[in-house]
Amino acid sequence: MSTILVKHRDDLASKTGMWFFLFTELLLFGGLFIVYSVYRYRNATAFHLAAQELSVFIGTINTIILLVSSTTIAMSITAIRKQNKKFAVVLLGLTIILGLAFLVNKYFEWGEHFKEHIYPGSSILALRGHGDVLFYGLYFFMTGLHALHIIIGLIFILVITISILRNRITSDNYVLLENSGLYWHLVDLIWIFLFPLFYLIT
C-alpha cells in the first residue's frame, strides 16, 4: 500500500475568510464616507471650492493606473490556471509596477499640497476656515488610508509572486493568488468612489 500525502486544504473557506475581511474593510471606509457626507452637507461651499484645487488630471491618471493593475492581477489568475507560470509572474510584476506608479503620483500630488502649506495641523490651512480644514483633513486621511492599503497590497502581491516562483502556488492550488487579487480589487473599488467624491464633485 502506498502512502498518499494529502495536505488538508479548503479553498472555499479560505476565500470566505478573505471576503469576511473585505466586509470589515468596507465598513471601515463606509464609516469615513458617512463622515465625508455629513461634513460636506454642513460645509458645502468650502468643500466645493477646496475640491477645485485638486488635480483632476493626476486623479484620472491614477484611476486608470489602478484599473489597469486590477486587470493584470485578474489576468494572472487565468495565466496560472492555464499553467502559464511565466506570464502569471510577468502580469503580477506589472501589477506591482503600476501600484508603485500610483504611489509616486500620490507623492508628487501631496508634495504640491505641502508646498502650499496644506497639510493636517497647518496654521496657514487653519486660517482658511473650518470647512477647508475638514475637507483636507478627510482628503489626507482617506487617501492616506487608501495609500496604506496599496502598500499592504503590494507586499501581499510580492509574497504571492515569490510563492509562484517557488511553485507553492500552482495551477491546482491558487487560492492565495485569488485572495491577493480580491484585496487588490477592493483597493481599486474604494478608489472608484474616492476619486469622484474628492476630485470630480466640485
Partner: protein
C-alpha cells in the same frame, strides 16, 4: 470545448478582462467629462451612479462574484444594505435637525 462549464472550473479568458478594462476606462472618462460640465445638483448623482456601475463590473468579473457560489453575492449585498441603512439614518438625523 465544453459548452457548459462547471462553475468551479470556469476560467475567464484574457479577452474578457481587456473588454471590461476598456469599459471601465470609458466610464471613468465619461464621469470626468460629465462632471466638468456643470450639471448642478445632478453632478453628485451622476458621478455616483457611474461609480456604482464601475463597481459592479469590478465585483462581478474581476472579483469573480458572477461565477462564485451565490452565498458571496448575497453576503456582499447584505453588507451594502447595512451601510446604506446606516448612511440613510445618519443623514436623516442631520437633515432634520
Amino acid at each position: 470545448m465544453k459548452t457548459i462549464e462547471n462553475e468551479k472550473n470556469h476560467i475567464i479568458p484574457y479577452k474578457t478582462f481587456l473588454f471590461v478594462l476598456a469599459g471601465l476606462i470609458v466610464l471613468t472618462l465619461t464621469s470626468v467629462t460629465l462632471t466638468r460640465i456643470s450639471l448642478g445638483t445632478m453632478t453628485v448623482t451622476i458621478a455616483l451612479i457611474i461609480a456604482a456601475i464601475k463597481s459592479t463590473f469590478v465585483l462581478r468579473i474581476f472579483m469573480h462574484l458572477k461565477f462564485e457560489n451565490k452565498m458571496f453575492s448575497i453576503a456582499f449585498i447584505g453588507v451594502i444594505l447595512l451601510l446604506a441603512a446606516v448612511i440613510t439614518i445618519t443623514l436623516l438625523d442631520y437633515l432634520n435637525r
